[in-house]
């Protein structure tokens, strides 16, 4: 009996020793407390990329422990910035690449860029440069880039007050050479300064509302100041009513209260410089329920950009008596599947 016990005991011991797993619990101590070092240099696959030909730049680097790393690409001419981040002990060129897009506008142009690989918890920073030979072409339905002035079918309306600027300009475009200025200063108690309306034909679009993006570059700030509570209303119409039925009013006729219209407010517009705003169509609220209240991108017939601001008159926003409203726009593009900066 005793011999049997001993045999069984030894057998069980062998089973459990053999079962011991060669792993560990919790985060790696090396990651938490180990001294950081590079195992391979920071390599860049293409130092002269032509993004207009769909070329990409791949990155590779290896470290002795997993860290929060960040690759920053900064256009030396445009100031455009692209950031790629991750947490790993390896920057895998099969996974980490750049196709010429940007994290924050303006867009990259044909220019020299400074590259920087930095780490959240380490002081080390690796640097290099590359030169863009061809800039990225963004895919989407371009509504207006204002390169050839205001689109032919577009309608512009504005109040006739002080410094109204509802026209194209070339002094500070987001992309290309021109943009559309929307601003001025109201001399009476009125929020609405003006608008620009574009007719659209979206019948070829197949995306649902949550995958259909309205992307718009917005420039704000004059001499480092912004008007209080200035904002842009984006109205989208799915009405089949003729776009410009009434020729007397300088505005489209498809945004009436009885029609199927959806609205999104970029409010406030309180930054200095350009900012790219991307909104999926499902975030639009019902402005006037003249239709089925279902946002259907392929039924869109028109889009309106309204410039509004808190009036300085009548003591609503007296500080606006001394500053012009500025909600200039450029690069109005509709994209499917993803917003423009994530292309």
């Amino acid at each position: 009996m005793t011999t049997n016990y001993i045999r069984y005991f030894i057998f069980m011991m062998l089973i459990f020793v053999a079962c011991t797993k060669d792993e560990y619990e919790g985060p790696s101590l090396q990651n938490l407390y180990g001294e950081f070092s590079l195992l391979s240099p920071f390599s860049i696959s293409n130092l002269n990329p032509d993004f207009s030909n769909n070329e990409v730049v791949k990155f590779h680097c290896e470290f002795n422990k997993s860290v929060d790393w960040k690759i920053t690409i900064r256009g030396l001419q445009t100031g455009s910035v692209k950031e790629i981040t991750g947490f790993s002990n390896r920057i895998d060129s099969g996974l980490v690449s750049w196709n010429g897009n940007t994290s924050e506008v303006p867009f990259f142009s044909e220019e020299t860029c400074a590259l920087e690989l930095s780490f959240l918890t380490e002081i080390d920073t690796l640097r290099d440069t590359l030169t863009i030979l061809g800039k990225k072409v963004y895919e989407g339905i371009m509504v207006a880039d204002f390169e050839n002035g205001i689109p032919q079918d577009a309608l512009v309306f504005h109040q006739f007050s002080m410094n109204m600027t509802f026209e194209t300009a070339s002094d500070d475009p987001l992309n290309g050479n021109s943009y559309f200025k929307m601003g001025g200063r109201m001399g009476w108690n009125e929020w609405f300064l003006g608008s620009i309306d574009f007719p659209l034909d979206m019948s070829a679009v197949n995306s649902s509302a949550d995958e259909f993006y309205i992307n718009l570059g917005v420039l704000s700030g004059i001499n480092g100041e912004v008007a209080s509570d200035q904002f842009i209303n984006i109205l989208i119409s799915e009405s089949n009513h003729p776009f410009n039925d009434d020729l007397t009013n300088n505005a489209s006729d498809v945004f009436q209260d009885t029609m199927e219209v959806y609205k999104y407010q970029i409010r406030p517009v309180d930054w200095i410089g350009w900012n790219m705003i991307s909104i999926s169509y499902d975030q639009f609220e019902v402005k006037s329920s003249g239709g089925n209240n279902i946002r259907q991108p392929n039924n869109i017939t028109a889009i309106k950009l309204q410039c509004q601001s808190c009036p300085g008159v009548s003591a609503n926003c007296p500080e606006n008596m001394s500053v012009d409203v500025r909600t200039d726009v450029d690069f109005l593009i509709l994209t499917e599947g993803t917003d423009v900066l994530n292309q």
């Binding site: 005991f9 560990y24 619990e25």
Partner: protein, 582 residues
């Protein structure tokens, strides 16, 4: 709430009156026992560096626990315990609390099925339901017996049982073929009731239930078998919490007994499985935070039939994923949020004072009475090898225990040694090893010198060495030494003088584990120790009888950290306890 207590008190008083009137008629229907205690302590700070904390503070109370036992019919007993407690410093009863501490009804149905309802004390196997002793408990030594008895009484610790509220039923059968006996014990309890967490947000904590059973069978004269099962689960619909835990544990054991003329050999082989999972209302899929674990233990012991000698040895494997909340809940949670009662904040930096050996020995409020669904924190200098008892997960190794009692009671020795290793590493593939040796020797000098009055001394020692090889990051070397000494002399009839000292010295480094709400390791905190904790006690005890005594003590205690930016502390205490078991 006050009205509620008033009602309870009036009810108790009515029962008391009723009892007095019925005692004379039917003496066996109602009877009383209980406990009374007067407690007073005065603490002084000795360190000159602390000019912010008060130099001294005192506290104390009188309490009376009145136990009422009522037998309305034969085989049924109703038990209630009412506590009246008065804090010193209260004025005309303003500091007086009246509380119902325990309520239980128990009995036997048809002389076959025993049951208990209300407060019940439960213990099963060491891997399924067990309330392990607190840290620093060396063989239940009586070095600080007055403190220990108060802590155990106030926290309802009885023989490693958890006090729970619920229903327990047990019954047994005898057979004349195949097996000899079959004993069944079943219970269901509610360790935690649904309660409001935040009135503004209207959030509620869920009910937590612990249920289980034991089946034990004497198969033959020498072989018996046991099956234990527990399940801890939260009821998601009874609260607004987004996650609910479920933790079933199964254990099966076979016991072989062999008895000879002078000794017996018992061997036990047992194994078990556990599953711990969280169901989520939002955010996670069904397999998130799900872990399966197992354990295996073989133990064999040889004992002399006169109980003078015992030696046991065995092998144990507990999987890293083995989780048994009812067996792994600790008596003391070493989390920073668990605050000491005395000098909670200390030094001119006004920092929280870490738990020291004095607090573990004396502070009843540090102790936990609840089942914790996740592994609680521990301090490696007090217990690193088996912080969750035998059920500590991620351990594999051998152990050897024993005791010897001298025939003429000159001395007795207890000892234990064990060597464990982690099954898998923490933060690295390298594994910690734990080597522990402990012993307690008590020498009865009065027996040696043939004197009638008590005169004895005890010496306890425990050394635990934790090691992990590897590079400078992985390497661990922690050496913790714990020494206990007590000498006791009966000066006059029933008047005992005693001196005791307890000291822990820990040198080395370790990594403390930080876990999230789902028991997953979040991170490790690197710690270095060069710490000495000490407690010296000098006292006189007058023992009217076994459970009635007056104890007057002087305690000198403190901690030396020997680490920059961490202040040492030294305190002294004068203690008076008058305890009467009715």
């Amino acid at each position: 709430m006050n009205n509620y207590f008033l009602k309870i008190f009036l009810l108790s008083f009515s029962i008391f009156q009723l009892a007095l009137s019925s005692i004379s008629q039917q003496n066996e229907k109602i009877w009383f026992d209980g406990l009374g205690r007067s407690y007073f302590s005065r603490d002084n700070i000795l360190s000159n560096e602390d000019t912010i904390s008060p130099n001294s503070m005192s506290s104390g109370y009188n309490l009376l626990d009145l136990n009422v036992h009522v037998n309305p019919i034969p085989n049924i007993e109703v038990f209630g315990q009412v506590r009246v407690q008065n804090q010193f410093g209260g004025f005309f009863g303003s500091g007086t609390e009246i509380d119902v501490r325990q309520l239980t009804a128990r009995g036997t149905l048809k002389n076959k099925v025993r049951f208990s309802v209300g407060d019940i004390y439960l213990k099963q196997n060491k891997y399924t339901l067990h309330n392990y002793d607190e840290d620093l408990n060396l063989y239940g030594s009586d070095l600080y017996n007055s403190y220990k008895s108060i802590i155990d009484y106030e926290n309802f610790y009885q023989d490693n049982r958890w006090r729970l509220q619920g229903l327990q039923v047990d019954f047994s059968y005898k057979f004349d073929r195949f097996i000899r006996t079959l004993e069944v014990d079943l219970f269901t309890t509610r360790p935690r009731g649904s309660s409001q967490l935040n009135s503004a947000l209207n959030t509620f904590q869920s009910d937590m239930l612990l249920s289980g059973g034991t089946i034990y069978s004497q198969i033959s004269k020498s072989i018996s078998a046991e099956l234990n099962y527990t399940i801890l689960n939260e009821l998601p619909n009874s609260g607004t919490q987004l996650s609910s835990v479920k933790n079933p544990v199964y254990q099966f054991g076979l016991i072989h007994q062999y008895s000879a003329k002078k000794f017996s050999i018992n061997s036990k082989i047992q194994t078990g499985l556990s599953e711990k999972s969280w169901s989520h209302k939002v955010g996670y899929d069904s397999i998130s935070h799900n872990r399966l674990g197992m354990f295996f233990e073989y133990k064999s012991e040889i004992s002399k039939l006169d109980s003078s000698f015992n030696l046991s040895m065995g092998y144990r494997y507990v999987d890293p994923n083995f989780r048994s909340s009812a067996a792994q809940s600790r008596r003391i949670d070493m989390a920073e949020s668990n605050l000491n009662s005395i000098y909670t904040i200390y030094s001119n930096d006004a920092v929280v004072r870490p738990i020291s050996i004095f607090d573990i020995i004396s502070d009843q409020n540090l102790f936990n009475q609840n089942i914790s669904p996740i592994l609680m924190n521990f301090n490696p200098i007090f217990s690193n090898a088996l912080p969750y008892g035998d059920a500590t997960p991620n351990r594999v190794g051998l152990f050897l225990n024993g005791f010897y009692k001298h025939k003429k009671k000159y001395f007795n020795i207890n000892f234990n040694t064990s060597f464990f290793s982690e099954v898998i590493g923490q933060g690295t593939s390298r594994k910690r090893t734990f080597l522990t040796f402990s012993q307690l020797t008590k020498v009865n000098l009065n027996e040696l010198f043939n004197q009638r009055k008590e005169f004895n001394f005890s010496l306890g020692y425990r050394n635990q060495i934790t090691n992990r090889e590897g590079d400078s990051i992985e390497r661990i070397n922690l050496n913790s030494t714990h020494i206990d000494f007590k000498i006791e002399k009966e000066l006059l009839e029933k008047v005992y003088f005693n001196f005791s000292t307890k000291r822990i010295k820990a040198i080395g480094n370790e990594y403390l584990v930080s876990r999230d709400d789902f028991d997953e390791i979040l991170t490790f905190q690197q710690v270095n120790y060069n710490r000495i904790d000490y407690l010296h006690a000098l006292g006189i005890k007058y023992q009217f009888k076994r459970d009635v005594y007056i104890d007057v003590q002087y305690n000198l205690w403190g901690s030396e950290f020997n680490i920059a930016n961490f202040n040492d502390f030294d305190f002294q205490r004068l203690l008076f306890i008058f305890s009467i078991k009715l």
